[in-house]
């Protein structure tokens, strides 16, 4: 049993800075959970509280059936991979990997076997006698991983382990980490600010902001049904367009036009924040009616970015809010200054409250 649970956990640092605020979150046994958020959102502090490197100010942290608030880091059966890798610079790769076993007084022969096995799994067998300074960033990262896996902990904690790698190596290591987690069958809690890592690696994503949990769920669910405006804009590249609108029976009204909504708006017209992802917007000729009879919104093209496989058409609507439309590279696209009509896929229009930023249920 190696589920991890936060029960009303708060962490306040000296000076009253509240890094984590009343966090309730359960990470299931064998789950790969990604803690995602901008820097300073409290995700690393949450991770450090599981490790026992920071103590909660209030609330309970559980690992398995145990409350671990007062348990020493070494007795929590967790291993952590740090962003800096935290390798001991004066020791060889072998000594670094062996270090946690050394503290546990494992017999010498057994220690060698374990180190050798971990080194082989991570492709470090040739590097065992080198010092960290003689390794590349990717190799150091593997040594840090090896040092974590030799202990066979029930919970792995990783604090932005890929952020110091170059883009290509990051993609490769991402795939390897997912495979590694599957083969180790351990619980893995992974902290990152990179939404691509979060979307591709985790079974579930927990998004934090200012110490508070915003939403937990499988990546696709978080992408498709963001709980609030923050989550909507944090996940997705380019981020979801958000703009001022009036929700009415016509749909989401922007100036004279409107974006159709699948279920309509049965209530009184109301000021809201509209949200539509760039890939759910389409450019229509001004002269034409919307093909499905839905409404159109008029905008002026302010810039077109070509990314090779697609184009991002930046437009300004009549209410002065900007909006980005994703266009396939092979499709025709307008020029800067041109007036266009925008149509949204009605089933992908999101509505958020202007006061709270929370998602507004349409039905």
């Amino acid at each position: 049993m190696s589920a991890v649970a936060f029960e009303g956990v708060t962490k306040e640092f000296a000076g009253g800075v509240r890094a984590v605020d009343s966090l309730d979150l359960v990470i299931e046994d064998h789950e790969f959970l990604v803690l995602l958020g901008p820097s300073g959102c409290g995700k690393s502090t949450a991770l450090r509280m599981i490790a026992g490197l920071d103590d909660p100010t209030a609330g309970v942290v559980r690992i398995g059936d145990r409350i671990v608030n007062d348990v020493d880091p070494k007795d929590r059966d967790v291993a952590m991979v740090f962003q800096s890798y935290a390798l001991y610079p004066h020791m060889t790769v072998r000594k670094n990997i062996e270090f946690p076993l050394d503290a546990r007084k494992l017999p010498h022969a057994e220690r060698n076997t374990v180190v050798q096995h971990a080194a082989e799994v991570l492709g470090l067998a040739e590097l065992l006698d080198r010092k960290p300074a003689q390794l590349s960033g990717g190799q150091r990262q593997r040594v840090a991983l090896a040092r974590a896996i030799v202990r066979r902990p029930s919970v792995f904690l990783m604090d932005e382990p890929l952020s110091n790698l170059d883009a290509k190596l990051r993609v490769q290591t991402r795939v390897e980490l997912v495979a590694l987690q599957r083969s180790l069958a351990s619980t893995l809690i992974y902290v990152t600010h990179d939404q691509v890592e979060a979307m591709t690696m985790g079974h579930r994503i927990a998004i934090m902001r200012d110490g508070m949990l915003q939403q937990v769920g499988p990546p696709q669910e978080v992408y498709d049904r963001p709980a609030n405006q923050f989550v909507a804009q944090f996940i997705g590249t380019p981020p979801m367009n958000t703009f001022h609108a009036v929700a009415s029976a016509r749909g989401l009204e922007v100036a004279d036009g409107a974006f159709a909504m699948v279920d309509g708006w049965a209530r009184e017209p109301q000021d809201v924040i509209g949200g539509i992802r760039p890939e759910h917007l389409h450019l229509e000729s001004l002269a034409r009616e919307a093909p499905d009879g839905g409404a159109l919104v008029v905008a002026t093209v302010s810039m077109v970015e070509a990314l090779g496989h697609e184009r991002h058409v930046h437009c300004r609507m009549q209410n002065d809010d900007s909006i980005i439309v994703r266009v396939a590279a092979s499709d025709p696209y307008p020029t800067t200054g041109e007036a266009v009509a925008l149509r949204a896929d009605a089933e992908h229009v999101h509505v958020f409250s202007t006061e709270t930023g929370q998602r507004v249920a349409l039905a």
Binding site: G52, P73, F82, A86, Y88, P89, H90, R147, R151
Partner: protein, 280 residues
């Protein structure tokens, strides 16, 4: 072509000027040492008309006289005991103090650190009378304890090693805590090996300071069995005015160990002083 010549010539000219200045300065510093060594190798009578510049008939007899008759051997031995003792103890306390200030959180830490630093601002002469009195009261007059114990902890050592220890990334402490290493083992297995240059520099400073002490040993010892070499030299000068060559020989014997030590550890000394100033 013309450009490449002017570019390559200017640094050469500058190097020559730089080396000239360095050679002149090195000459100024080494000249007294040279004169001391040369004259320590002369017969006492050869110096009747002032110091000589070049040894004509070198002899080691002055060294033998200084070593046996003037007890320089005994003084050197005492100095070695005192300097090694002070260095070993001072390094140990500085490592512990530096570790506490660098890695532990405890109440009044800042205040205590300021108090440590404040001890650096007080000249030793201000407290010396009270300290001599204390040594007398403890019955330590004429003993190694009097020469060593007052110097086993210094604010400077703890400060120097704290700065050195602060360069150890905090992640290493966290990693070690998760790996099952408490403070003591983290200090021994990680901090001390990583900060070896800083510790070596601190040890060298401690040793140099202890070796060159004059006033304190003079005040707490009167017995030749405990007197250190710097006092021995002074005594040598007073007692052997007729044979100044013996004084020269004694001086060479006194600085030889420290000169060898400096030559052997100059790299650590410089590295320790600049550690933390530049990354890596």
């Amino acid at each position: 072509m013309a450009v490449s010549i002017s570019v390559s010539q200017r640094p050469v000219g500058r190097s020559i000027a730089r080396y000239f200045v360095l050679i002149v300065m090195a000459g100024l510093i080494l000249f007294p040492i040279y004169i001391t060594i040369v004259n320590s190798l002369m017969e006492p009578t050869a110096l009747a008309n002032g110091p000589v510049w070049w040894p004509s008939h070198p002899t080691l007899s002055n060294y033998a006289t200084a070593w046996t008759n003037a007890h320089v051997g005994r003084y050197l031995w005492n100095t070695v005991i005192v300097a090694v003792g002070i260095t070993a103890l001072q390094v140990s306390t500085a490592i512990l103090g530096g570790y506490a200030f660098a890695f532990l959180n405890f109440p009044l830490k800042r205040l205590m650190f300021v108090m440590y630093l404040a001890t650096l601002m007080i000249p030793g002469e201000v407290t010396i009378i009270q300290n001599v009195q204390t040594v007398h009261d403890l019955g330590w007059y004429n003993s190694y304890a009097a020469l060593i114990v007052p110097f086993i902890a210094t604010g400077f050592g703890a400060f120097l090693l704290r700065q050195s220890f602060l360069a150890v990334p905090a992640d290493l402490q966290d990693a070690a805590a998760l790996d099952g290493y408490g403070h003591w083992r983290f200090l021994r297995r990680v901090v001390v090996p990583i900060c070896r240059p800083g510790i070596a520099a601190m040890a060298l400073f401690a040793f140099l300071g202890a070796w060159n002490q004059y006033l304190w040993p003079l005040l707490v010892t009167s017995d030749d069995r405990y007197r250190t070499v710097q006092i021995g030299l002074k005594q040598l000068r007073t007692e052997n005015l007729s044979s100044v060559t013996v004084v020269f020989a004694g001086t060479v014997l006194a600085f030889l160990p420290i000169a060898l030590l400096l030559l052997a550890f100059s790299k650590q000394l410089v590295r320790g002083l600049t550690a933390g100033a530049v990354k890596g």
